[in-house]
Symmetry: C2
Subunit: 127 residues, 2 copies
Amino acid sequence: MAHRSRLAGFIIDCQTGDLGAAAAFWSRALGVSIADPDSGGTGQYAEFGDTPGDLHIEVQKVEHPSRVHLDIETDDLDAEVSRLEALGASRVGFVKRWWVMQAPDGQRFCVVPLREDNARAAPTVWD
Amino acid sequence: MAHRSRLAGFIIDCQTGDLGAAAAFWSRALGVSIADPDSGGTGQYAEFGDTPGDLHIEVQKVEHPSRVHLDIETDDLDAEVSRLEALGASRVGFVKRWWVMQAPDGQRFCVVPLREDNARAAPTVWD
């Protein structure tokens, strides 16, 4: 059965004890607003608004070294993960509601549930 | 004097000897087209088309470990680099036509000349 996926956006992983300072830096650097300084209420995520293409862009407080990672969103996690494996990616682990994967050349990225409540470009339909 | 900047997009740095394979993976993973498989004719860059918000997204063949880095584009490199330094970023080095910088929490990013030949959202004007 066909499923859909698209680039959801990117997460700016910051190895920091101060989520607020990291969010302030990146919102000013990129010229985007802070839509939610504590998305989910866990003290771990700050979500930006007024983003290009309505992409999901957020700062995440992490323990590992800082980096940027991409999120792909889909209406069928299993089908999308299988599609990406066939392209050469590998599964790293399932976390909460999403799959962490690794690209053939080593970048980590996540496959997350599709959110329709935004103005992002239409997903690609994969047969 | 006022200057302008905005998020230009992101570069998928791939530690690989095969730019074509890396571009093929990421174009299929993200559901974007390959607008130019050898942007600039150096064998180092493959540029994507049909991107969200008309963001500049490309795969770059690199020697260092794979990662994703952001590009900020501006009509005044010196003013923008100074603005970012005041926010806490630091200069790493000038390469060809752009500045490589490092964010307070360690991510590398680039500050590049503004390109107007696209449909990206209007830049922010900084006084």
